[in-house]
């Protein structure tokens, strides 16, 4: 791990002002922020570990808990809600055997919800790894999930 983290830090010339970008790259690599990576940042960039932790816990986009390879975000905004977003969410929960906010044991999926994606016309909408899937229905859930490794 240490080599990959070092390479990311190197990419930003260990510039303390780029801490957020560095954390983003690390999260892209590991799908979360491993503790060892934060320690490595603190040591190489001479930033107190508490400050790295401060930034890592401040932004909701960062996770200190391991996340799955694929990140599912279910929109629960008003438009999606009235069109059955909750039923879609519950179907995903049942299919994966996890609740919202959790990660599958095989680290394939992490499930989160969001209050609005601003894509109301597509509702109910979910987003997986940045791709939007509109007009979702419970019957579409399993085929869609199966298409991800």
């Amino acid at each position: 791990m240490s080599d990959k983290v070092s390479a990311i830090i190197e990419k930003y010339n260990a510039d303390r002002g780029q801490l957020v970008s560095i954390l983003q790259d690390i999260q892209d690599e590991y799908y979360y922020l491993p503790k060892e990576a934060l320690i490595k940042i603190s040591e190489t960039m001479s930033i107190p570990l508490s400050q790295v932790y401060n930034v890592a816990t401040f932004f909701k986009a960062f996770s200190l808990k391991p996340r799955g390879k694929h990140f599912i975000n279910v929109c629960l905004g008003t438009a999606c809600h009235v069109r059955g977003a909750v039923r879609v969410l519950e179907k995903i929960e049942r299919s994966l055997g996890i609740r919202r906010g959790e990660t599958t044991e095989d680290r394939r999926f992490t499930l989160e919800t969001v209050n609005c994606m601003g894509a109301c016309a597509l509702g109910p909408v979910i987003r997986i790894d940045g791709e939007y899937y509109g007009q979702m229905g419970t019957e579409k859930v399993e085929p869609l999930l199966d298409s991800f490794e």
Binding site: S46, I47, P48, L49, S50, V52, Y53, N54, T57, F58
Partner: protein
């Protein structure tokens, strides 16, 4: 603070009042200076303005909205209102938001009557809190021995976070999470002990509420009074308050307004005083050896025995070991007693073991053997060169200045075989082999000369003997230096260029320079380097030995040395001898006495028959313990005066119980030559007595005149009368603030910087130097180098700190720090007990496998009697200063089967 800097004064109007302020001040500072109250919670004068609590909002003409006074610079002609009904209403609303989350059970809060929320509430007149109360219901953190963190009371002002990061340079705590979940905490919510925390207590002292409070005094109520005094640990001389109720010190708090420590302390001064002062093992009655046992006796009996037993040994058979822990007045009396009553110059103290090469070396080069500049100048340097000092362990509060300077862009060069905390902040870390300092420094000087970076104008105008020095530099080409020191050539050249081109540059050093068989040469090399670049006699420059003990500077100044009276007036100078003979009304010996290391040899050879040891523990602090113990037990008579029954006191015939620093008046002189008051806060425990009183009683029992002192201030009058550099110092002047010697007359302001314009000795003297390897180098039988030093959590032989439970929790035992490479080849695991053997003895200690030790070098502290490093160390002496080579000896490490 740079001397001579002029600040412009600006005028502004606050609440209709014409106010003057220094340019650069904030609106808040201008208002406070004029005595106008603006409420604040997140503001603190020692921190950069933050503008978080929003209580200091004001109205400023021609500015929109409500700017915060703490972050707005005051400008000429500004018109400000601080107290309009609208402002007060806004403040009440803001304050209500804070109070909604803060419990309001003030009467049962430990911070009651000291809480800043209470003051703000009273000032802005909160009538009701209309918001629903939120109970966070968080557990109280009790994860360390010294303080508790109850974040239910926290208002998130961030003062603790900022002091930890900005002032201490640690950053153990930060804000974590955000919004309503935001909390102050450590990384990964670890306990403080598992974090970077160094337990300095700065967060405790800066918290406006009861969120962070010292555990031991939390529920003891308000102190009755607070007595300002000087810290008894290291040579920094931090100013602190002893907060007292009845006859007990409840807690220690820092003094904010002083130039030495500016409100900062370290773990020892903040949390390590109360417990040793009130420790049950304090000696409270004299002890007299009867039938081989030390038994309790009366003062009358003890004093009579001491007087009677000392009488036959007047002259060369007596020696006095004075103490760098005792006051100036006590050391003055000790040397007066030795010279006048006992008729010998056999007086010395532990400065022999720390900075005798400094006194000898810097006196040769500059004419004065003391720190050339002041502590508060370090922060203003453009380059700081720290060699042979683990400053953040040995002198933690001085390390704050170094870290601050480094953060502000100063170049930091560290030369140390061990990886010390400051390496993190350094531009270059020169990891040279122990004992190769002369080679390293001369190598740097060769680069400076070869690349024409020397200040030759300063050299020609202010110094002499340059040509001889220059010739000796030629021997130090970088191939040789690189091979001798183990430092890459390029690093040496880079360090030399940094030091020579970033001015002002300051050199700081400690025992890593002095405790060598060529310690004086090391000191001379640092002096050569400073002169070569003209870094002397100016602000933020100089050669600055960091003195170890609280009063080691003072004990030297007072003439607790075998060759000088007070103020370094030589005993073999007939005019000086005459002066003291007239004043003391006696005849005095012109023959310099024995040094401390020579005393122990003389005791061993039975040339000495009687010794008087005041407040020192040579059995643990001197090299080759077995030799020291044997030497002391061969004496006919040994009297030890101490607060505790130390390893040395256990060998005594009479033990006299001494009062602690908190129980007496006096003065200490810190490392920057600043004479500061020690003030009595409580009565001496039991029948213990101040050292000055005891010496006077014994002198009088021996029939001497000139020891009738009612108070230490009278002793200081005598010191001032006889000592040119202390001539203007008296207790009345010291009431205000400390004075830095030389201070020759009562109207002299003291001297922050030595050698301004001209060296004390006239011209600065360059000394040609050769490289001498350490006396004992590793060989087949003893393949490793042992070097010794200090930890942050303990002090010297542990007489004080090992009585403090919390410090023992933080660092329970001594370790031998060994590199992973050596540990692997010896098949030693981290935490395993190993045997360390040198030519003089062996100790058992726990191995700590760490990259902080380079391969081939192991490190031990000397605080722990059960794994005493000084059983191993080498008694090889520097020929001039007679300091033993405590920093280098050869050892072997074996697994225990």
């Amino acid at each position: 603070m740079i001397v001579g800097e002029q600040t412009k004064i600006i005028t502004l109007t606050i609440d209709g009042q014409q106010v003057e302020a220094k340019e650069g001040a904030t609106v808040l500072e201008a208002a406070r200076e004029a005595g106008i109250y603006i409420p604040t919670l997140c503001y603190h004068p020692s921190l950069t303005p933050y503008g978080a609590c929003r209580l200091c909002i004001v109205e400023i003409e021609s500015m929109r909205g409500f700017p915060t006074a703490c972050t707005t610079p005051a400008t000429e002609g500004m018109v400000i209102k601080t107290n309009t009904p609208q402002l007060q209403e806004l403040r009440r609303n803001i304050f209500e938001l804070i109070l909604a989350e803060h419990p309001k059970q003030c009467l049962t809060c430990a911070k009651n009557l000291r809480c800043e929320l209470q003051e703000v509430a009273a000032r802005i007149g909160v009538e009701e809190i209309s918001l629903p109360p939120i109970h966070k219901d968080l557990p109280v953190h009790q994860d360390n021995p010294f303080f508790e963190r109850d974040y239910n009371l926290c208002i998130l002002c961030g003062r603790c976070v900022r002091v930890c990061q900005e002032v201490r340079g640690i950053g153990a705590i930060a804000f974590t999470y955000r919004g309503s979940q935001a909390l102050v905490g450590t990384a990964f919510d670890k306990s403080l002990q598992d974090s970077e925390c160094q337990f300095c207590g700065a967060c405790v002292d800066i918290c406006p509420t009861g969120a962070i409070m010292e555990r031991s005094s939390k529920w003891l109520g308000l102190p009755e009074r607070s007595v300002r005094t000087t810290c008894p640990y290291c040579g920094v001389g931090c100013q602190l308050n002893l907060e007292v109720s009845g006859g007990r010190i409840l807690q220690v708090s820092p003094v904010w307004e002083n130039s030495v420590n500016e409100g900062q302390l370290c773990v020892k001064g903040r949390f390590g005083i109360t417990e040793f002062v009130h420790h049950p093992h304090r000696l409270t009655t004299p002890l007299i050896r009867k039938k081989g046992e030390l038994v309790e006796g009366t003062w009358e009996e003890a004093l009579n025995i001491v007087a009677e037993k000392l009488t036959p040994y007047k002259g060369e058979h007596f020696a006095f070991m004075a103490s760098a822990k005792c006051t100036n007045e006590e050391n003055y009396l000790a040397q007066k007693f030795t010279r006048k009553v006992m008729q010998t110059n056999n007086i010395d103290h532990c400065a022999r073991l720390c900075h005798s090469p400094t006194v000898a070396g810097l006196a040769t080069s500059f004419g004065s053997g003391a720190m050339t500049n002041s502590i508060n100048e370090i922060g203003g340097a453009a380059c700081i060169f720290v060699i042979g000092s683990n400053t953040s362990s040995g002198h933690p509060v001085i390390a704050l200045q170094i870290k601050r300077a480094a953060r502000n862009g100063a170049k930091l060069i560290i030369a140390n075989p061990l990886e010390i905390d400051l390496c993190r902040y350094a531009d270059i870390w020169l990891r040279h082999m122990p004992g190769s300092d002369v080679a390293l420094l001369m190598g740097m000087m060769k680069v400076i000369l070869d690349e024409n970076l020397a200040d030759l104008r300063f050299v020609t105008e202010c110094c002499d003997n340059f040509d001889a020095f220059r010739e000796s530099v030629e021997d130090f080409d970088l191939d040789f230096v690189g091979k001798t020191t183990g430092v890459p050539r390029e690093d040496i050249a880079r360090a030399a260029r940094l030091y020579a081109t970033h001015k002002p540059a300051v050199i700081l050093y400690a025992m890593g320079i002095t405790q060598h068989s060529h310690g004086t040469d090391n000191v001379l090399a640092t002096a050569n380097l400073a002169m070569l670049t003209g870094n002397i006699g100016k602000p933020s420059t100089g050669v600055n030995p960091l003195r170890g003990q609280n009063n080691v500077q003072g004990a030297c100044d007072m003439g607790a040395l075998p060759n000088v009276y007070t103020g370094y007036q030589r005993v073999d100078n007939p005019d000086i001898q005459k002066k003291f003979e007239v004043d003391w009304r006696c005849s005095l010996s012109p023959k310099p006495g024995l040094t401390l290391t020579e005393m122990l040899d003389a005791a061993h050879n039975k040339h000495l028959a009687a010794m008087y040891i005041m407040g020192e523990n040579p059995v643990l602090s001197d090299p080759d313990i077995n030799h020291t113990r044997e030497a002391l037990s061969r004496l006919e008579f040994l009297v030890v005066q101490d607060m505790f029954l130390t390893e040395t006191a256990q060998l005594a015939d009479v033990v006299l119980p001494a009062a602690s620093f908190a129980e007496k008046d006096g003065t200490f002189t810190n490392t920057e030559r600043r004479v500061q008051r020690v003030r009595k806060a409580i009565e001496p425990l039991g029948e213990s007595k101040p050292d000055w009183w005891i010496i006077c009683q014994i002198a009088k029992k021996l029939g001497a005149q000139g020891f009738d002192f009612e108070h230490p201030s009278e002793v200081m009058e005598e010191i001032a009368r006889l000592t040119p550099s202390y001539g203007g110092i008296n207790y009345k002047r010291l009431e205000e603030c400390g004075l830095q010697w030389p201070c020759p007359t009562e109207d002299h302001p003291g001297t922050p910087i030595l050698h301004v314009g001209k060296f004390v000795r006239g011209l600065g003297r360059f000394t040609p130097l050769q490289y001498t390897p350490p006396a004992e180098l590793p060989d087949g039988e003893y393949p490793l180098i042992l070097t010794t030093g200090r930890s942050l959590y303990h002090y010297h032989t542990g007489t004080m700190t090992r009585k403090v439970a919390g410090l023992n929790i933080l660092e329970p035992e001594g370790t031998v720090d060994i590199s992973p490479a050596d540990a692997a080849s010896l098949k030693i695991d981290d935490g395993e007990r190993v045997k360390v053997t040198s030519r003089r003895g062996e100790v058992i200690a726990k191995a700590k496998v760490t990259e902080k030790s380079p391969p081939g070098v192991v490190f031990m502290t000397f605080h722990f009697a059960e794994s005493a490093a000084n059983i191993l160390t080498s008694p090889e002496l520097d020929p001039i200063a007679k300091i033993p080579e405590l920093k280098v000896c050869a050892v072997r490490i074996d697994k225990i089967k």
